[in-house]
Symmetry: C3
Subunit: 345 residues, 3 copies
C-alpha cells in the first residue's frame, strides 16, 4: 500500500501543516467514515458538525475552521482543491503499458505514438493519429483520420467517428459516441431524406465527456466543444452546437442543433435547450429547465413547477389549465370593484 | 418446438386447473392475439372485455374472473406472477456453453469459474473474479479486480470498470456503464480540476440494470445499489447515490450525487432528483417529476403541468409568468371588497 | 478532391441553372462560411440577410429569393431537398470493402451476403441473416437469428439482440441497443420477478435509429418501428411500443410501454409519453412535454412552464403551489362583489 507522511502532502500541495508531521496517510475518506490513517477534508460548511466527531487522522480545512478543531490539519485557502489534487495518489484506475495489444486492430495507415496505449480489441482506422501518452482502452473505436493530441484517454467501448479532432488531455468516457451523424433529414417526396453530415466534432484541450454521452458531427460546419468543458453522462449534444470554455453540463441534458453556449456556464441535470439560440457567458440553469429563447444576461434561470403530493398537484394542475380564464375573471372583478368604489364614494 | 400440457403448467405453478388437462401449450400470447395452442392471462381488469373474444387455448386468471369464462383455465390468486414464471419456458435468449471463447481476452490473473461463459471479444482484466454460472456476453468489458458472484449476466458491449462488486444473479444489460468516474471537479486556478473517483460501485443480489444506463463510481465512499433493485434503460445514477432494496426506477431518470433513495420506491420515467437529499421508503414519484427536497413521508409525489394544445398552453404560460403579480392583485382586491362591504353594511 | 461543375449539379438535381455553368464546386458550406468554390443554400427565410454577404460560388434558392441575388444560382422549389441530395457527394464516411474482416467472429450458421461488409471485431451469432450491401461496422453485435434486409448500416459498437428483424436500408447508429429486454417484472413474494421478454423488435424499411438509443423487445407481441421513422440519439422506446410511418422523434424522448404513436408525428426533444396510450397521426409535440393521455386530434401540444430568472421563478413556484386556494379566493370574492352590486343597485 502506498503511503505518505502528512508533511509530504503539505509540501506537495502548499498547505500549512499543523500537528504530527510524521503521521502516515494511506487513504482519503469523508469526515464521517475516515479512520486514523486517513485524511479527510472540510470544504462545505454544512459538514462542519462532522468535524467534532471525525476519526480522521488529519483534516484539510480553512484557517477559520481550524480554530474549532484540535486534530492534525492541513490548512489551505481552498481545501476542496487540495483534496482534489491528493485524490490522484489514491486512484486505482489501471495504468496500462505503452504499446498496441495483440488483439487490437490497427490500420497500417494509422499513426500511433510509441508512448500511446492501444488496448485489447480496440479498432483504429486508416489515417488516425494517436498522440503521445494517449490511452485507448479495450473495445474503443477510433475512426478514419481521427486526430488525438497528447494524453487523451478514450475509455472502454467508446466510439469516435471519422475525421473528428481532439486536443490534448481530452477524456472520452465509456460508451460515449463522438461524431456520429447529426439528426438532419429533408422532407420531400413523402419521406425524410437523409442529409449527409459532412462537418466534424472538434473537442479542445482538457475537455471531459461523460459515459454514454453523444456529440453529433456538424451538418456542414463543425460541432465544437471548447477548452476545459466538462460534460457528464447521457448528455445529448446535437450537430453544430458550440459549448464555450469551462462550461459544465450535468447528466441528462439535451442541447438542440446549432445552439451556442457561452463559457463558464453551468447546466444542472436534465436541462433542455431548443435549437438555434445563444446563451451568454456565466449563465447558471437549474435542473430540468427548458430554455426556449436566447439568454443575454449572466445569472440564474429556471423553469418547471415545485413538486408536491400527487393529490395537491392534481388540484393545482386542473386550476393551472384554467389560469387564463381565472386571470380574466380577476380583471373583470377589478373593473366591477372600481365601479362599486366610485358608486359608494 | 417445446410444449407442455396444461396439467404440467398447473402443477409447476400451483395454479388450479379447469378444463382440458391434456391441452398442448406451445406459447404465450396476449388475449387478443393468442391462438388455440397458446396460453394467455388476465391480470389487469381493463382487459376483461378481451376475455369474451380471446382465441387462447387457455387463460390464467383469478377465481372471480373465471366465473365469466367458459374455456380452459389456470386459476390463481396472482395471474401476473404465474404468467411471469411461465415466460421463462418460452424465452429464446441464447443459452451459451460454459467456457472462454477463443477470441476473448482474459488476463492470466483473472479467476474464471469453469461453469462461467466468456463470450467472443469479451475482455476480462487482471484480478477480476467471475463466479459460477456467470454469462459475459460478447464485447463486454470487465475491469481489473471486478468481482461477480454467481449467475450474473453481463450483456453484449456492457462495461464494468475496475474494483466494482456485483452480488449474485445481477443482470447488466447492453451498453450499460458501471463504475465510470463520477462527475467530480474542483474549480481552482481558472479551470475545473479533476477529482479522482476512488470509490466503487457495489450492486447487491438480483439487481437488474437497464441498457445504456450509467452508474458512476463513488468519489470516496461507494455508490450502492441494494438487493432486488430494478433499473430501466438510459438512467443516470451519479456518484455516491444509494438505492434501497427493491426500488424500481423507470427509463430516463436521473439521480444526482449523494442522494439516498429508500426501499420499495417507484420512480416513473424521466424523474429527476437533485443531489444530497433523501427519499424515504415506499415513495412513488410520477413521471418527469423534479424532486428538489428530501421526502420523509411515504406516498405519491408529482410536479409538472398537464399538457394542452400549444395555443392554450401559450396563453397559460404567459399568465403563469405573471402569477405573482396576479396573486397580489387578488389580495389587493380582497382588501377593497372588505372596505366596500363595511361601507355598505 | 472530387469536384463537379454547377451544370452537372443542376442536371443531377433538376434545378434551374443561372450563371456560370462551368463553375467548379468542391464542397458545400453555409452562406456565412462558404468560399468561391463552394455551393451554399437558402431554405430558411431567417437567413436571407446572409445572402447579401455570402462568399459562396453559387447558392441553391427559391425563385422568389433569386430575384434579390446576383450570383450563380441553382433555382429549385425545395432548396433544402436539393442541398440534402448533394450532401452525399461530400460525405467522408468511410466506404468499406465487401467481405468479412479477419477479426470478426461470425457463427458458421449465420448467412452473410457476399456483398455485405462485416467489420473488425464484429460478432454475428448463429442463424443471423445479413442481406446484400449491408455494412456492419467494427464492434457491432448481431444476435442469433437476427435478420437484416438489403443495405442496412449498423454502426460501430451497436447491439441488436436475438430474433429482431430489420427491413431494408435501416440505419442503427453507434451504441444503440435494439432488442434488449423490456422492463417487465411481476411483484410477488416480496420481490420483483423477471418476466422473460419473448417478443421481438421489428424495424421497417428506411428507419434511422440514433446513437445510444434503446428499443426494447416486446413482452409477448413485438415492438414495431414502421417505415421511414427517424429517431435521434438517447431515445428510450419501451416494450410493445409502435411508432407509425415517417414519425420523427428527437433526442432524449422516452416512450413508455405499449404506447402507440401514429404516422407523420413529430416529437421534439425530451418529450415523455406514459404507457398504454395512443397518439393519432400528424401530432406535433413540443420539447419536454409530458403526455399523460391519448391524443385523438392532429395538432400541436405542449406542457411545462416558460423559463425565467430563478428569482422570478421561485416567486411563481410558491404562488403556483397555492393556486387552488387562490382560485377559490377569487370565486369567493366574485360572490361578495355580486352581493355588493345588488346592494348598491
Amino acid at each position: 500500500m502506498k503511503r505518505w507522511t502528512l508533511a509530504e502532502l503539505a509540501k506537495e500541495t502548499g498547505a500549512q501543516l499543523r500537528g504530527n508531521a510524521d503521521l502516515m496517510i494511506t487513504g482519503l475518506a469523508t469526515l464521517r467514515s475516515a479512520g486514523p490513517e486517513q485524511l479527510s477534508f472540510l470544504a462545505n460548511p454544512l459538514y462542519r458538525s462532522a468535524l467534532a466527531v471525525t476519526g480522521a487522522g488529519a483534516v484539510i480545512l480553512r484557517e477559520e475552521d481550524a480554530a474549532d478543531f484540535d486534530g492534525n490539519a492541513l490548512i489551505a485557502a481552498n481545501p476542496y482543491a487540495v483534496y482534489a489534487a491528493l485524490t490522484h495518489h489514491f486512484d486505482r484506475t489501471p495504468r496500462r503499458e505503452p504499446g498496441i495489444h495483440a488483439s487490437a486492430v490497427v490500420d497500417p495507415d494509422a499513426v500511433i505514438d510509441p508512448s500511446a496505449v492501444i488496448g485489447a480489441r480496440a479498432v483504429i482506422e486508416s489515417g488516425a493519429v494517436i498522440g503521445p501518452a494517449c490511452v485507448i482502452e479495450p473495445g474503443a473505436f477510433i475512426g478514419a483520420r481521427v486526430s488525438l493530441g497528447q494524453g487523451c484517454h478514450v475509455r472502454a467501448n467508446a466510439v469516435i467517428h471519422h475525421d473528428c479532432v481532439l486536443g490534448n488531455r481530452v477524456v472520452i468516457h465509456s460508451g460515449a459516441v463522438i461524431g456520429d451523424d447529426g439528426f438532419g433529414f429533408a422532407p420531400a417526396n413523402g419521406r425524410w431524406n437523409k442529409i449527409a453530415q459532412i462537418g466534424r466534432v472538434v473537442i479542445h484541450d482538457d475537455a471531459d465527456i461523460g459515459a454514454n454521452t453523444t456529440i453529433d458531427r456538424g451538418a456542414l460546419d463543425d460541432t465544437v466543444i471548447h477548452q476545459g468543458v466538462i460534460i457528464d453522462n447521457l448528455v445529448m449534444i446535437a450537430h453544430n452546437v458550440e459549448v464555450g470554455a469551462h462550461t459544465a453540463i450535468a447528466g441528462c441534458c439535451g442541447i438542440s442543433g446549432s445552439t451556442k453556449i457561452g463559457s463558464w456556464c453551468v447546466l444542472a441535470g436534465g436541462v433542455g435547450l431548443v435549437g438555434h439560440i445563444e446563451v451568454c457567458d456565466k449563465v447558471h440553469i437549474t435542473g430540468m429547465t427548458m430554455v426556449t429563447k436566447s439568454i443575454t444576461k449572466p445569472g440564474s434561470y429556471s423553469s418547471g413547477t415545485a413538486f408536491d403530493t400527487t393529490d395537491n398537484w392534481k388540484k393545482m394542475a386542473v386550476r393551472l389549465k384554467k389560469l387564463d380564464e381565472t386571470t380574466r375573471r380577476l380583471r373583470e372583478l377589478e373593473g366591477l370593484v372600481q365601479q362599486l368604489t366610485s358608486k359608494t364614494d
